[in-house]
Symmetry: C2
Subunit: 214 residues, 2 copies
DNA sequence: GTCACAATGTGGACATCGTCCACAAACCAT
DNA sequence: ATGGTTTGTGGACGATGTCCACATTGTGAC
């Protein structure tokens, strides 16, 4: 009668019960420790204690599994940004709050990229539509997804008068480019092997460059 | 007596004669039209008209072939930058020459990334040492590799007084981050599907952001 | 020139992967 | 109870990277 909550690779029942979730979680774990290429259908089914073909009842292909992993990764990225936003002093005035928000978004992005490298890389490992229909599964606890969080920060800058309205359009992509590029250079580029402190210091300068150059 | 210069997948001689080069060229072609994942050992040997194992006499593994492709890609990237540098008016004064050089480097980088996407992605698809021992195979016609070209542009800016000396250190990576990130967003990110004109226009703004924010 | 040796290409094999097809078991609505 | 739908199983195929033993060719010592 008691549910076999532990999942020791073997099952007594013919049906798994929650295979889709099990596969997704295995996929996330694989992505975390090995990046998108490590998200291997057969290994996920192995971890779920199921035969390889069973996966096809829940994901049309390996790519679909990767897409699901990507959505989960986006949500965690949003959480990382929100965590950074929450460190802002509530006593800040408009201009400083706006600038601080943009910095927080950037630093939250970098923190996620450098600590959850595998998941971060998985976000860009699969083709996807853009813009995508709003999907709460991609959001953080505020209900906003990473891109929306960035947009809000930029809007605050316009309201506070620290970003001219005529430069607002497309500014998401300028800011994103700089921070994303830095993350990639650290992860799989020439900046690989930088210590955490060095990466933080350089990352800080990247964010400042954006703030100043936007 | 006449050399069989054409290479119709079959050979009359037991020895190939120039297999390493043939494999590398096949690898480059595969990378060009399909990115790093398309660089498949067996396909390269097929194109060279040779059995799969023959590759192992010239490359220790698929990864080593990819590394060789990467070096070739770096050289072409340097050429793209140099081509952009050569469009600068020779009548420019120091400050404008310096700024123009930095812009040219950035635009050359972007042009290569967006027109030779497969090769560009191959540059970052494989782990490599950094800094690497100087290797002329990575350079353009000036003898400088892409990173050195960027360094020269930044040095010019310091000399011309448009970049404070105290900001020179590490500036390579700030500039590189922004341009690289933009390229990645266009190639495999949310900016995918941007028209050439749109990409050029936004790319211009990225370069300006760097110039202003460095 | 001959002959041993090094260099290079061949043949066959193995494990792994994604995916397809036919079949079996379990759940569900009638 | 029964028939249909959902979900998992079993077996197969072609592709890939890589390993080992073997065959062929070029080369240097004598």
């Amino acid at each position: 009668m008691t549910d076999q909550v532990t999942r020791p690779t073997t099952r007594s029942t013919y049906r798994h019960g929650d295979l889709r979730r099990a596969l997704l979680e295995a996929g996330i774990a694989l992505a975390q420790s090995g990046g998108p290429d490590a998200v291997v259908l057969r290994e996920a089914t192995r971890r779920a204690g199921v035969v390889p073909n069973a996966a096809y009842r829940h994901f049309a292909s390996r790519l679909e599994l990767l897409r699901a992993v990507r959505v989960a990764a986006l949500s965690r990225l949003a959480l990382s940004m929100e965590a950074e936003l929450n460190t802002l002093s509530p006593a800040l005035d408009g201009a400083e709050l706006a600038r601080g928000s943009l910095r927080a978004i950037g630093l939250g992005y970098l923190r996620f990229a450098l600590t959850e490298t595998g998941l971060f890389r998985s976000i860009f490992a699969v083709p996807y539509d853009w813009p995508a229909p709003p999907d709460p599964a991609k959001a953080g606890s505020s209900g906003l997804n990473p891109f929306q969080l960035l947009g809000v920060a930029l809007d605050r800058m316009v309201e506070a008068g620290v970003l001219p309205t005529e430069r607002r359009h497309g500014a998401e992509f300028l800011a994103w480019s700089a921070v994303h590029g830095f993350a990639m250079l650290v992860i799989e580029g020439p900046l690989h092997g930088l210590s955490r402190e060095q990466a933080d210091a350089l990352g800080q300068r990247v964010v400042e460059m954006v703030e100043k150059g936007l």
